[in-house]
């Protein structure tokens, strides 16, 4: 995972950038935090997002963006340390606690987060949400997974198709 460098080493006044959500809400955030997004990183390195300009994010609504930025702000210091190899156990435990809490969310929020993490290419967040979904799937039968993920009960047509699939893939279900 690349540790984004914000480019400015002066700790005094952290450089701020402005992000604009799809519903036109402006978020001002430290460049270091926003740079966790690989998508934004280059723009920010080029000096974008500062002043009155702002970087428009037409794919991310304000609710999701605020959640994403919550993650970025929390993880920016550790990322600045190159994935936090020097972090104390306490720091790591705190981040872990934050992460667990962070994905303890409604499924629709989770889906929005997955999309945003993907679009913005935030590696850590992509892993985190993937792990959340994997945990939801783990140890469950297909039917249970469907229920967990909010699929409706299969129509007879779907059921037949699933049965056919399972026959073809008998080797996987023995």
């Amino acid at each position: 995972m690349a540790a984004p460098e914000s480019g400015d080493g002066n700790n005094g006044a952290a450089r701020m950038v402005t992000l604009i959500s799809s519903d036109n809400t402006r978020f001002e955030v430290e460049a270091a935090a926003a740079s966790l997004s690989q998508t934004l990183q280059l723009t920010i390195l080029d000096g974008g997002g500062g002043g009155g300009d702002g970087i428009p994010l037409p794919n991310v609504d304000s609710a999701t963006l605020s959640k994403v930025l919550e993650y970025c702000i929390k993880h920016a210091p550790a990322a600045a340390n190159g994935g936090a190899p020097n972090a104390t156990a306490v720091d790591r435990a705190e981040l872990e606690r934050f992460d667990n809490e962070f994905v303890n969310i409604d499924q629709s929020v989770l889906y929005s987060l997955i999309m945003a993490a993907h679009n913005l290419e935030i590696e850590g967040l992509q892993s985190l949400v993937a792990k959340k979904v994997a945990d939801m799937i783990k140890g469950k039968s297909p039917m249970e997974i469907r229920r967990t993920l909010g699929f409706p009960d299969p129509t007879p047509e779907e059921q037949a198709e699933m049965n056919a699939h399972m026959l073809e893939y008998g080797w996987a279900y023995e």
């Binding site: 997955i114 409706p152 056919a164 699939h165 996987a172």
Partner: protein, 254 residues
């Protein structure tokens, strides 16, 4: 590696050799190939018996034998009208289906292979995703089902059907094997190496020195015949009751 490991034993991990053997004719051009990865090799690990193997008595197979196998390609799911009423739920499904492949693949990369396969039945959207995971974790969960012979059908199908899709990491856990299984295991290794995975080994000691000895020697035999590849070797440390990785010659020849 979140699955239960036997208590009281420790792990020896080693970073290993990178091997690149490409059979271009076999490898399909999946652009998702990342440079590096690893294979984790877990012979005969004594996992706590977590029996997942019998939970396939799933309501999805309600003994309805009236459906004949069809090719997936012919199956196009059409939303039937009688589901129009369930609009909110359907939105949910549509959101899930709208997730990019990469996001779903990340999820599947975290699951053991048998669980990955279970997702392929979920819906049309999931049918073929399993072929593109970059991590393969073939894990036997208990001693009874963990013999290479028991895994053979599964692994053969898995590797053949996913073809040459790039791999970053391969984990293979099993409990035991006979001499005649060695060429097969060897073949699997060759295949994953051709999928550009790297090899790392990880080994947890399972018991007495005698057991470990026999197993590790057979592993060496399994990997020895792969051409032009320097494989890692295992070394048993009686002091710590672990097997660690060393260079490929030694400790298990007698």
């Amino acid at each position: 590696m979140t699955k239960a490991h036997g208590k009281g034993s420790s792990f020896a991990v080693c970073p290993c050799h990178s091997t690149r053997q490409t059979l271009d004719t076999l490898l399909r051009a999946y652009s998702r190939a990342h440079g590096k990865g690893s294979i984790l090799f877990f012979p005969f690990i004594d996992l706590l018996p977590v029996s997942l193997s019998h939970e396939h008595s799933d309501p999805l197979l309600p003994g309805s034998a009236d459906t004949s196998p069809r090719f997936d390609g012919m199956l196009r799911r059409k939303r039937s009208k009688n589901r129009a009423a369930a609009a909110p739920v359907e939105d949910e499904i549509d959101r899930l289906s709208a997730l990019p492949d990469d996001a779903l693949r990340r999820v599947l990369d975290l699951l053991p292979a048998n669980e990955v396969m279970r997702t392929s039945v979920l819906a049309q959207r999931w049918r073929h995703l399993w072929k593109y995971t970059t991590v393969l974790r073939v894990r036997s969960e208990d001693e009874r089902s963990g013999h290479v012979k028991e895994l053979r059908v599964f692994v053969d199908h898995l590797l053949l059907l996913r073809s040459g899709a790039p791999l970053e990491r391969y984990e293979f856990w099993f409990f035991g094997f006979d001499d005649e299984d060695v060429p097969r295991v060897n073949l699997w290794f060759r295949h994953v190496v051709m999928c550009k995975a790297q090899l790392a080994t990880e080994r947890k000691a399972t018991g007495g020195h005698g057991t470990t000895f026999r197993e590790a020697r057979a592993v060496a035999a399994a990997v020895d015949s792969v051409d032009d590849i320097t494989w890692p070797e295992f070394r048993y440390s009686s002091a710590t009751d672990t097997v660690v990785c060393s260079t490929f010659s030694a400790t298990y020849s007698g």
